[in-house]
Symmetry: C2
Subunit: 209 residues, 2 copies
DNA sequence: TATAAACTAAACTGTATAGTTCAGTTTTCC
DNA sequence: GGAAAACTGAACTATACAGTTTAGTTTATA
C-alpha cells in the first residue's frame, strides 16, 4: 500500500483502489466545504461511507490525505482540457470563443470556486500544493493562449506570454470578485463587457490579411 | 461597551479603547498567520498580551472578533489611498505610474498576501467580509482608474469600467500567481513585462492631441 | 481616600479532535 | 473450502479548544 511521507506529494497517477477513490470523494466534499483546519477525519470517513481505520490505512494522516486530494484535483478535475475544435475559425472568432469558454468555466462552477478558495487559503501552509495548482491549472492556460498569439503574428502582439497572462488574469479576477467574493451585488457587471473590452484591446491593431 | 451581535458587522469607526486595539493587533497576527479555524483565542490573548477574559469582555466571541478585525483591516489598512500627485503628467506617464505603484503594492507586501488569502479562504463562511473587501479595496481601485479613463477621452476607451477591471485584474492576478501561489519558480516573469504589455494594449489607439 | 470599573491568572466545563487499537466481520483469491 | 488481506465499529488516549467563572489585583476617577 505504497504510502508517501507527509511532506512529499505524489504526482504520479498510480491507479487507486476503489476504497481510496471513495475516501477521496468524501474528503473532497468535506475539505471543499469546510477548509483544511475545520474538516475532521471522522466527518471525512462518514462522508466517504468508510470506517476511520480504513482512511488511515490508505493515507498516512490528515495532511497526507489533503495533499493527495488537492494534487489529484489539480491534475484531473481542474486541469484545463482544450478541444481541437476550439481553434477552428479566424482569430476574432477563436479568441472570443476561448474567452467565453474560459469565463463560463471560471464563473459558473461553484466547485471550482471552492477549490480555488481552498488552494489560495492554504497556500502558505501547503506551498507545494499551490505550485501544483499553478503547474497544472494556471500554466497550461497561459501557455495555450500564448502559443496561439505566437502562431498568429497578424494579431501584432509584441509579448504573447505577458498578453496571455493579462487576458487570463482579467477573466479570472473578474470571476473572483463577482462570484467568489460576492461582489456582483456591490459592483455588478455583465461578463460580456469584460470579454468585449478584452477583444477590443487585443484585436484592434491586428493586420488584416 | 457597545458590542455587536455575532452576525452584524460594525462598519462605523467608533474610536476603540487601547486594550481593544491591542487585542486586534494580536488577533491580526494570529489570524493572518494561521487562518480562522486554526487560530485559538488563547493564542490571540497571549499575542495581544492580555487575559482571555479581557478578550471576551471586548468582543462577543471568536466570530465577532474575526469580523471586527477583517472589516477594520479592509477599511483602514488595505483601503487604497490615492495621492493627488499620482495624477500629474500626461496619460502615458500617469498610467504607467499607477500600474507600477499598484503592482508594487500588491506584489511586495506579505501582509497583504496573507490578508487576501484569509478573505478569499473564508469568503463562503463569511460572505459579508468578502463584500466589505470588495467595497473598500477592489471597488475604489476600479472606480479610480475608471474615472481616469472617462476623464481622458483621447485614450479612446469605449468601456472605461470594464477596461479598468481588466487592467487591475491583470495586475492582481499576476501577483496572486507569482507571489501568493509561489508560481515565480514555475513560470517566472518580470512584472515590468505585464506593465509594458498593458501599456501597449491600452495606449496604442489613443488620439494624439 | 473611597469606590467602581477594568483587568488578570487560573481553574473549570463540555465538547471536539487526530490518531490508535482490537475483536470480529467481510472480501478476495488460490 | 480456507487462508490472508481488507474492512468495520467502537472504544480509547491524549490533546486542544471556546467560552465561563471566580477570587483577587490594578487603574481611574471623583
Amino acid at each position: 500500500m505504497g504510502r508517501k511521507s507527509a511532506s512529499e506529494i505524489d504526482e504520479n497517477q498510480e491507479p487507486m483502489s476503489e476504497k481510496a477513490e471513495q475516501i477521496l470523494k468524501g474528503a473532497m466534499q468535506e475539505f471543499l466545504a469546510h477548509g483544511y483546519a475545520a474538516t475532521s477525519m471522522d466527518r471525512v470517513a462518514a462522508a466517504a461511507g468508510v470506517s476511520k481505520a480504513t482512511v488511515y490505512s490508505h493515507f498516512q494522516d490528515k495532511e497526507g490525505l489533503f495533499t493527495a486530494l488537492v494534487a489529484r484535483m489539480a491534475q484531473q478535475k481542474f486541469s484545463v482540457i482544450y478541444a481541437p475544435t476550439l481553434l477552428e475559425g479566424d482569430p476574432v472568432t477563436v479568441l472570443r470563443r476561448m474567452a467565453t469558454v474560459a469565463m463560463s468555466r471560471v464563473c459558473c462552477d461553484p466547485e471550482q470556486h471552492a477549490f480555488v478558495r481552498l488552494v489560495m487559503g492554504e497556500a502558505d501552509r501547503f506551498p507545494q500544493l499551490a505550485q501544483i495548482f499553478v503547474q497544472y491549472v494556471t500554466k497550461p492556460g497561459v501557455d495555450f493562449l500564448s502559443h496561439y498569439f505566437t502562431d498568429h503574428p497578424e494579431l501584432n502582439i509584441p509579448d504573447p506570454e505577458a498578453t496571455a497572462r493579462i487576458v487570463i488574469g482579467a477573466i479570472v479576477h473578474f470571476a473572483q470578485v463577482q462570484e467568489m467574493l460576492h461582489g456582483a451585488e456591490i459592483m455588478p457587471m455583465e461578463s460580456d463587457r469584460i470579454i468585449d473590452a478584452l477583444m477590443h484591446l487585443v484585436m484592434r491593431e491586428r493586420v488584416i490579411s
